[in-house]
């Protein structure tokens, strides 16, 4: 009998700063006008790898950067141990950059009032080893909805086990709404 590929994981708890955030009946998290959102207890010893699917909408953000941090036992890993490599493709322009000694990793850019989607692959966040992750996203760049690609590969150098993640929106007054779902990949 075949085994399902992924299991939707319900957070043991969430924390947020903003208007609201709730865990749905199936385990996904819906949020409105938050400047930060933490999912606790979504990474466990049952799975090595995870898939996160997110839909973001910017609120009051002219064009803000969404970032994430790993998290253990309710505390963010906010030391400068992250490295990111990103690539942005917009029309005929392709650019890239690397950020070292980062305190959080960009996952996407968001624009006001427009849906932005991404899939994030996380490799071994609960394992006591460095974590690698990859984001694949589409970002509506401007008010005419021009689609832009922004992909990010990132690593976290500590050999620490993390059970959760925090999303945050850079810039005072910038918030985000949407939904995020975490899947554990069966193994």
């Amino acid at each position: 009998m075949p085994t399902a590929s992924g299991i939707l994981i319900e957070p043991t708890s969430i924390a947020y700063t903003g208007t609201s955030a709730t865990i749905g009946a199936n385990g996904s998290v819906t949020f409105t006008a938050c400047s930060s959102l933490s999912l606790n207890g979504v990474f466990t010893a049952d799975y090595d790898n995870y898939l996160m699917v997110a839909r973001w909408v910017g609120v009051n953000a002219p064009s803000a950067v969404m970032k994430y941090r790993l998290r253990a036992s309710g505390t963010d890993a906010s030391a400068a141990n992250y490295t990111e490599q990103y690539i942005i493709a917009s029309s005929t322009s392709v650019s890239a950059a690397r950020g070292t000694s980062q305190t959080a990793i960009r996952v996407a850019n968001i624009s006001p009032g427009q849906d932005q989607g991404e899939i994030m692959y996380l490799y071994g966040p609960f394992l006591s080893q460095p974590t690698a992750a990859r984001n694949v996203s589409v970002w509506p760049y401007n008010t005419t909805n021009d689609p832009t690609m922004m992909d990010v590969a990132n690593t976290h150098s500590l050999s620490t086990s993390y059970d959760g993640v925090t999303f945050l929106c850079e810039g005072a007054g910038n918030n985000f709404s949407g939904r995020v779902t975490v899947y554990g990949m069966r193994q």
């Binding site: 790898n49 950059a97 071994g124």
Partner: protein, 211 residues
């Protein structure tokens, strides 16, 4: 017929309630809405220290120079997702060959065409080449590099396409993606995964995507 009651004790342990009210080990049917299934290789072959198939179907390996998964592509699914993380005893490139009935497809030097894109710092480069193998990602001793691969139609008697989405390198971070095609119209039921040098350790899992 009354509906059978199942309980999941853990992700790998499922019990079924029987007539006397006790619970016995069971395997429930997958719900119709399940988007994908974890494929169980019919067998594996490897060169190196060890490799084994887990209860559910993923393959863990230690210090291998090649690892072959047989019987993971079937007529039940057109497309597949393969998730892997691994590290190596030294710098290497992870490579792949399709495989049919226990034999790697390496019969000609130009059956695989590979398009690479690498973003490293502010530099973005692409390249295209032909070979008797295809690549997934560079791998290092210090970091368990992760990649997710998509195989489109490997079991169909038509050319196969693949795409690799990667993340890795502990000292920095690199995007190193591949798109590849294989030109023969053969059905392949497996693949071989091997480093260009040194040996690799980690885990790999193949998921059939329901059509």
């Amino acid at each position: 017929m009354p509906e059978i009651t199942y309980g999941r004790w853990s992700p790998t342990e499922v019990m079924e309630r029987v007539l006397d009210g006790t619970w016995v080990t069971a395997t429930p049917p997958e719900p119709a809405s399940t988007g994908g299934v974890l494929m169980m290789p019919t067998s594996i072959a490897y060169s190196g220290t060890s490799a084994s198939i887990s209860t559910l179907g993923s393959v863990s390996f230690t210090g291998v120079t090649s690892l072959s998964l047989n019987g993971v592509f079937t007529g039940d699914y057109d497309n597949y997702m393969i998730a892997t993380w691994a590290n190596s005893s030294g710098v290497a490139i992870k490579r792949l060959r399709l495989r049919a009935s226990g034999t790697d497809e390496s019969s000609a030097s130009n059956y695989y065409t590979i398009q690479d894109i690498t973003a490293d710092g502010t530099t973005v480069n692409g390249s295209r080449g032909v070979n008797n193998l295809t690549n997934s990602a560079s791998i290092y001793a210090t970091q368990r590099v992760g990649d997710t691969m998509y195989f489109y139609g490997p079991y169909l008697a038509q050319p196969t396409a693949g795409r690799v989405v990667t993340a890795g390198d502990a000292s920095s971070a690199v995007i190193q993606d591949q798109a590849w095609t294989h030109s023969l119209s053969n059905a392949y039921d497996g693949f071989t995964y091997f480093p260009s040098a040194n040996n690799i350790s980690g885990r790999i899992a193949v998921y059939g995507l329901k059509g």
